[in-house]
């Protein structure tokens, strides 16, 4: 396919939960497309209990198949962080893979949710140990899949990675930034050319 699989959300491994659905869909700002656990999926009430189970089963199956496999726990943790890996069996061999941290739905809820994609903990490269980025702290403190960190209250972000190595940040509200007061020495040094031309773009 030569066109985007979805506009507005979850494109290219990056999903923004809640705030931008209005770009394409019905503008339901409370929709959540990332669930950290089966319990959380059920509690959210957006999918039926059966649908939640189905989506998690799909994601778990794809998870073992698609996740990067390591021969030792330490090699896996070097890439994904301490406590982020689990053992599994693949082709009759013991392997270590990053644990399932959640699922991401490929389509909007209005379209039935679509196939679920497994989400992994963020890589060490994306979230280095001690990173102050809130989405990294949230990801590390939540640990592996079983903790079921609540998601959807306040302005919170959590980092993940996909099995293809893309970085994903899911957030439930707009980004907050602190404004600091600094001394401004001048203003308005750009823009003068625009007044003599009709268009600044092409």
């Amino acid at each position: 396919m030569k066109r985007s699989t979805q506009i507005g959300l979850a494109a290219a491994g990056i999903v923004l939960v809640a705030t931008t659905l209005s770009l394409i869909g019905g503008g339901d700002e409370e929709e959540s497309l990332v669930y950290n656990s089966l319990a959380e999926c059920r509690a959210a009430g957006q999918l039926s209990a059966t649908q939640c189970e189905q989506r998690f089963n799909e994601a778990s199956a794809n998870h073992l198949r698609d996740a990067k496999k390591f021969s030792s726990s330490s090699a896996c943790e070097t890439e994904y962080g301490a406590g982020s890996c689990r053992a599994g069996t693949w082709n009759n061999a013991q392997v270590f893979i990053p644990a399932l941290a959640g699922i991401m739905l490929a389509r909007s809820l209005a379209q039935g949710g679509g196939v679920a994609q497994p989400l992994l903990p963020p890589t060490q490269q994306a979230c280095p140990p001690g990173s102050a980025a809130p989405e990294c702290q949230q990801a590390r403190s939540s640990g592996s899949s079983s903790s079921g960190a609540s998601y959807g209250g306040g302005s919170r972000a959590r980092a993940y990675s996909t099995t293809s190595g893309d970085r994903v940040v899911a957030r439930s509200g707009g980004g907050a930034g602190s404004a600091t007061t600094r001394s401004v020495s001048s203003r308005g040094g750009f823009g003068s050319s625009a007044r003599s031309f009709s268009s600044s773009s092409s």
Binding site: M1, K2, R3, S4, T5, Q6, I7, G8, L9, A11, A12, G13, I14, V15, L16, T19, T20, L23, I24, A133, E135, A157, D166, R167, V169, R171, G174, G175, G177, A179, T180, T181, R182, S183, V184, S185, S186, R187, G188, G189, F190, G191, S192, S193, A194, S196, F197, S198, S199, S200, S201, S202
Partner: protein, 388 residues
């Protein structure tokens, strides 16, 4: 490549407005036009548009290396000398670029021929990325087009991915700026801001005119927030000539598009590409005005100022006589002459194919057609699809 006449959706203005596309009928004349669409085969898209787009981008990179080693070229491109090292540093550092649009003449049979490269401030983005995508989905859903049609258009997905990768560590704070009084530019920036937010960035809009200079030498937005990364829908050739030009290199700001795009967003590029690859099937012969090789173009050619937007000051010369010209304020920095491209007429309309690059990867197509062979700011955007 065929031009297919289709009935527009009765409620098309509401349908496109719902996507945030507010400038569909500037001055009352519809700019978004879905009473026709262009149909392509997959082979036409991949062989004739996608592949040459990637190839020309690589050729442009080779040109940048060449230009940065040549004072003569930088001078010819009218790049202020004070900015040469600023541009060179951005290229050496490998500053990432976000997007660009190559405009081609194409008739579905011969090779697509490059008309120009909008490398710095391309627009007509939302309509290509989102509006025509949604149009196709709806056309297939209601049976106006067969299911299984496709479109050369992963622009949206790639923009979101590209924003996240513009700078490390990511996510980061990004300011996006354009002029205060252009609804069209603001629409483009709002859409890009949306993509940046989806990429996890802390994205904020600022008017280009309200940018300030902090006492520490950095730029700031209207709320005095430092600007560390700035997407600007505002041409480099203007930034280079305004009051803050001397601060560009010292403001510790990463710009998108990066300064090296100034070397490509210049019609002089067309003359240099032809010099590097004479006879390239996707290029048109082009020379700087005054170059004696202009004589080889014959009496029919197009005269373009090296800085020009939306067709302004472009003149079409046929057998020595100016048959069409578009007035405008450009031209002080010189002109190039380019062989007239055979822009084919489809039902009396002249389509120009805008081939989009995101992070230097060919990923989409947006077609504008006009009633004259020069695509100006009164052209219409017409959707396309790939027939199954």
């Amino acid at each position: 490549m065929r031009r297919i006449v289709l009935p527009p959706r009765p409620d098309w203005p509401e349908q496109v407005e719902r996507l945030g596309f507010g400038f569909h009928s500037p001055d009352g004349a519809p700019y978004w036009s879905e009473s026709a669409a262009y149909a392509f085969s997959l082979e036409q898209i991949e062989r004739d548009i996608e592949a040459p787009t990637g190839e020309i981008e690589q050729l442009c990179f080779a040109f940048i290396d060449r230009a940065l080693a040549s004072e003569a070229i930088l001078t010819r491109l009218a790049i202020p000398q004070a900015q040469w090292s600023f541009i060179a540093e951005s290229w050496k550092r490998g500053d990432r670029n976000l997007y660009g649009r190559l405009d081609f003449a194409y008739d579905g049979k011969g090779p697509a021929r490059l008309l120009e490269y909008n490398a710095d401030t391309p627009t007509a983005l939302l309509e290509a990325s989102v509006v025509q995508w949604d149009w196709l989905e709806q056309a297939m859903a209601r049976g106006a087009l067969p299911k299984g049609c496709d479109q050369f258009n992963s622009i949206h997905e790639r923009l979101v991915a590209a924003f996240a990768g513009l700078r490390q560590p990511s996510p980061f704070r990004l300011h996006l700026a354009c002029v205060a009084d252009s609804a069209e530019d603001r629409g483009t920036v709002d859409y890009l801001l949306d993509c940046a937010v989806q990429a996890g960035l802390d994205a904020r809009f600022t008017e280009i005119e309200e940018i300030g200079l902090l006492s520490d030498g950095g730029f700031c937005d209207g709320a005095n927030q430092p600007i560390e990364t700035l997407f600007k829908l505002y041409p480099w050739e203007w930034l280079f000539r305004e009051r803050y030009a001397p601060n560009l290199a010292t403001a510790r700001c990463q710009f998108v598009e990066p300064p090296w795009k100034a070397l490509l967003s210049n019609k002089g590029l067309l003359a240099y590409l032809w010099e590097m690859e004479p006879g390239h099937p996707n290029l048109l012969p082009a020379f700087f005005e005054g170059d004696k090789r202009c004589a080889t173009l014959g009496p029919s050619h197009v005269r373009k100022p090296i800085y020009s937007r939306e067709g302004a000051n472009v003149a079409l010369v046929d057998r020595g006589a100016v048959v069409h010209s578009d007035d405008g304020p450009y031209g002080a920095e010189g002109f190039i002459l380019q062989q007239t491209a055979p822009i084919p007429a489809f039902d009396g309309a002249y389509p120009v194919l805008g081939s989009w690059l995101v992070a230097s990867q060919a990923c989409g197509l947006g077609i504008r057609e006009d009633d004259t062979p020069i695509t100006g700011n009164l052209s219409r955007f017409v959707p396309h699809y790939i027939a199954p």
